[in-house]
């Protein structure tokens, strides 16, 4: 072979398809359909039982709980029965399946049903829950196991089934963890103190109350000055966006297009600055503002916010400017425009989508900013929305108000996000080295 000092390209691990299937390994016993099927079925069934119970409890407030062993027994049986036949004679399979059905049946009778409630649950809730649970267990399981043979499975078939299981599980898992906190937030804001204490799981709302449901919101706007907070947050964010663009557009253009010594050092220090934690800066800013008298003033906030966003915006914009064709600008220069005219008449119109992304991203940062507002603002007449919501976090304010405040802070940014998702996502990907 070659001498040790010459560079040898690293050997690429050649995939050895089917090797594991032949040689066994850890997964060997699992690779028989009649083992893998019941295991996957049991896991799936248990997941679905938990999901059904959580969903029904959150939706109706009625108690419902999964039972571990009966769930596993039922799922294993389903997984066995659901394995495709592959054209073989169904006779013995039916006999086996019927025989094995005794296991979940015994678990059902001796222990308890796979999902069970109490007397409070009510008959119809139980029926609905069981229908949901049955459908959610059986139907997807048939799809998960559709290509898994009854006997020895190839690595392909086995992994296919595992991936289908993980995919189904993943969708449910992520949707649940994202959805639940927001659901709790919205529903809590629509209830009153007494309902909340009675049953923390009861998120049903009484639609006959009509507009009365929104009493927390009404109180926030009448008694807690939230109209003013909203307005302050809005104009502070808009001003931040404008000032940020005003500073970062020329800066980004210079970094992206012009040649000068120190351009690399500059862009690095921008990145570095943008990694300095806010709390480290907030402390001296608090001290300086206290001494100069800028604390507790919107002017102070508007001076600070843009500076925290300029590095991000500059970083995002220069990336975009680099991607624009330089030839167009050069043609403009040849035709007698100066640099600033080139930026104004050529670069900016071409960069409009990037400007939209950056603006949205900066708006989001300013709107969501909490730390500086919390440290620098004490006077309720000058609160931004986040500061206002933080002021609701006391034992004297009922928590449906706190949640209503959170909803008020969340809804505008969500509306912007959903309406302009394309720009927003681009902005997030380009700029979210910050977070």
């Amino acid at each position: 072979m070659s001498a040790p000092d010459t560079e040898v390209p690293k050997p690429v691990h050649a995939p050895t398809p089917g090797a594991a299937a032949r040689h066994g390994g850890l997964a060997a016993p699992l690779q028989f359909g009649y083992v893998a099927g019941p295991v996957i079925g049991a896991l799936w069934c248990f997941t679905m039982a938990v999901v059904t119970c959580v969903a029904v409890s959150f939706a109706t407030g009625r108690p419902l709980a999964p039972a571990f062993l009966p769930c596993l027994a039922m799922g294993a049986w389903l997984g066995f029965v659901w394995l495709p036949d592959g054209g073989r004679a169904p006779g013995p399979r039916i006999a086996w399946s019927a025989g094995l059905a005794l296991v979940p049946a015994a678990a059902f009778l001796l222990l308890r049903p796979a999902i069970f409630g109490t007397e409070e649950t009510g008959f119809w809730t139980g029926v609905v829950a069981w229908v949901l649970f049955g459908a959610a267990s059986a139907l997807p399981l048939a799809r998960i196991l559709q290509s898994l043979p009854f006997g020895s499975a190839t690595r392909h078939e086995f992994e296919e089934a595992v991936i289908r299981f993980l995919t189904g599980f993943g969708y449910i898992f992520f949707t649940a963890i994202v959805f639940i906190p927001f659901y709790v937030m919205v529903m809590t804001s629509l209830k009153n103190q007494q309902q909340l204490l009675q049953n923390p799981l009861d998120f049903t709302i009484d639609l006959s109350e009509g507009w009365g449901l929104f009493r927390s919101y009404a109180e926030l706007f009448t008694d807690f000055n939230f109209g003013s907070y909203l307005w302050v947050s809005f104009y502070v964010s808009v001003l931040t966006v404008f000032i940020t663009l005003l500073f970062s557009v020329p800066g980004a253009y210079a970094v992206a297009r012009l040649r000068f010594k120190g351009v690399k050092a500059f862009s690095r220090s921008i990145l570095l600055i943008y990694m300095v934690p806010m709390i480290v800066l907030a402390l001296p800013i608090y001290i300086i503002f206290s001494m100069v008298g800028l604390r507790n003033s919107i002017v102070g906030i508007v001076m600070i916010y843009p500076v925290t966003t300029i590095p991000v915006a500059l970083y995002m914009l220069q990336g975009y400017f680099r991607g624009l064709p330089a030839e167009v600008e050069e043609a403009g220069l040849m035709d007698g425009l100066n640099r600033l005219q080139v930026i104004w008449k050529i670069t900016l119109p071409l960069a409009l989508p990037a400007l939209a992304s950056v603006s949205l991203y900066v708006f989001m940062i300013a709107w969501n900013e909490f730390l500086l507002a919390f440290m620098l603002l004490d006077d309720p007449s000058k609160f931004t929305l986040t500061r206002g919501v933080a002021s609701l976090n006391s034992s004297e304010v009922p928590r449906q108000h706190l949640m209503a405040g959170s909803v008020i802070a969340t809804v505008p940014i969500m509306a912007l996000f959903l309406g302009l998702e394309r720009f927003m996502t681009k902005g997030l990907t380009a700029g979210s080295v910050k977070g």
Partner: protein
């Protein structure tokens, strides 16, 4: 080989055009540089200064002489009285001088007390040193020149008396101490803080990456509702931290939280769990929150990279009979390694820097005090600004270390 005539060489050095370009560039960067240095560099420097100063929260208000002016007495024997006080109970104020304008309605009757000079419509009194907490009354007999008492008082109040004096300001003097550092590195507490920081940063980062990878793989295929799910999965990151943090607190409330009610009802636990108040659990919970809130970010990056992987490779792998896991392990993962490591470094730094989330969830209690929370805790809860600044200095040096790695790595892994 012929000699190239020297005229054909590119010009060396910087020509006038290049110089003009550089000037323009610096001109365009100037506003950014100025503002950033004012708000970032200056505070950073001052952090170093403050960290070696024995300074508490109360020292932020420097001692000042305070004065109240009033007109007293009966007709014919009016007295203009200035009550002067040192606002600080610890520090003296030197060279105190009072200046006031006297309106035309008020005439000084007799010779004023010593050290006061009376000019045309003006009064200057040299008071000298005010001891800590000292109070002092200065009375000047006056008569009213053809005006009622009320109008005279109004005229007096129209001009505020001005006080001046110099006091020793702890922020600007040259008294230094290393006590702040000694204090924050003190024994057990520092170890707890360090442990919380490391746990939170490492597991938060890795967790968010793994979850993001999982979510990206789920959505890396087109189906109906894919866009909807992608939007939904970004919610935790886009929503204001204050809203989601409070939603979590209420969801996991030990007395009336839905999570506890659910767990009790399902028989997982008998008594309710204080998720954000018990020692090991609180740290785990804030880490879980961090993962929950930032997995969307990794997910977005990883998905973008996944969608740009050349599809031919997978077809080739299919032809060779590679199984799904093998395709993931030998094709996708090596392709994603670059973005994963960049994300790891970035998220590591940002998780290390995170303050809001923990502050809102636990306030740094129950063993969740990370370095950043410690800055706030020392400066505002213990009212020791100097110690807070000392922690901030420690954070800054950690950051320098991280960014060194980051730039070493980034120059290899160009193009985020």
């Amino acid at each position: 080989m012929t000699d190239i005539p020297p005229t054909a060489l590119p010009p060396k050095g910087t020509g006038p055009l290049a110089r003009r370009e550089a000037r323009l560039a610096w001109g365009m960067l100037l506003p950014t540089i100025l503002s950033v240095s004012l708000v970032v560099i200056l505070p950073l420097l001052s952090i170093f200064w403050i960290s070696v100063k024995p300074i508490g929260l109360e020292d932020l208000r420097p001692p000042t002489p305070v004065v109240r002016e009033s007109l007293r007495g009966d007709p014919g024997a009016y007295v203009l009285r200035y009550r002067i006080r040192n606002s600080s109970r610890e520090k003296p104020i030197e060279d105190v001088v009072l200046r006031d304008t006297l309106p035309a309605e008020v005439l000084v009757r007799a010779t004023p007390p010593a050290d006061c000079e009376i000019g045309r419509e003006s009064l200057t009194c040299t008071i000298g040193t005010l001891a800590p907490g000292e109070r002092l009354d200065l009375e000047i007999p006056v008569e009213l020149a053809g005006a009622g008492e009320d109008t005279a008082e109004e005229a007096l109040e129209a001009s505020e008396p001005a006080m001046s004096g110099t006091a020793d300001n702890i922020l600007t003097n040259f008294e230094f101490t290393l006590e702040n550092f000694a204090r924050i590195f003190d024994g057990d507490e520092f170890l707890t803080v360090l442990w919380a920081t490391l746990f939170y940063t490492i597991f938060g980062t890795i967790g968010a990456l793994v979850m993001g990878l999982f979510a990206a793989m789920l959505l890396n295929k087109s189906f109906r509702g894919q866009g909807l799910l992608r939007g939904l999965y970004l919610f935790p990151y886009v929503a204001p931290v204050i809203a989601v943090a409070f939603a979590w607190i209420i969801l996991f409330d030990p007395f009336s939280g839905s999570a506890n009610a659910l767990l009790v009802q399902m028989g997982v636990t008998r008594s309710t769990i204080n998720f954000f108040g018990e020692r090991p659990l609180a740290l785990i919970m804030v880490t879980v929150f961090e993962i929950w809130r930032y997995f969307p970010l990794s997910f977005l990056f990883i998905l973008a990279r996944m969608q740009s992987i050349d599809h031919d490779m997978y077809e080739a792998a299919d032809m060779d009979g590679a199984s799904p896991f093998q395709k993931f392990w030998y094709l996708s993962l090596p392709q994603l390694l670059g973005i994963l490591s960049v994300l790891f470094l970035l998220r590591f730094i940002w998780t290390f820097n995170k303050f809001d989330d923990i502050f809102l969830l636990t306030g740094g209690n129950a063993g969740t005090r990370t370095l950043t929370v410690n800055v706030y805790e020392q400066a505002f809860a213990v009212s020791n600004i100097g110690a807070g600044a000392a922690v901030a200095v420690v954070i800054f040096f950690c950051l320098l270390l991280f960014s060194f790695f980051f730039f070493r790595f980034m120059s290899r892994e160009e193009g985020l």
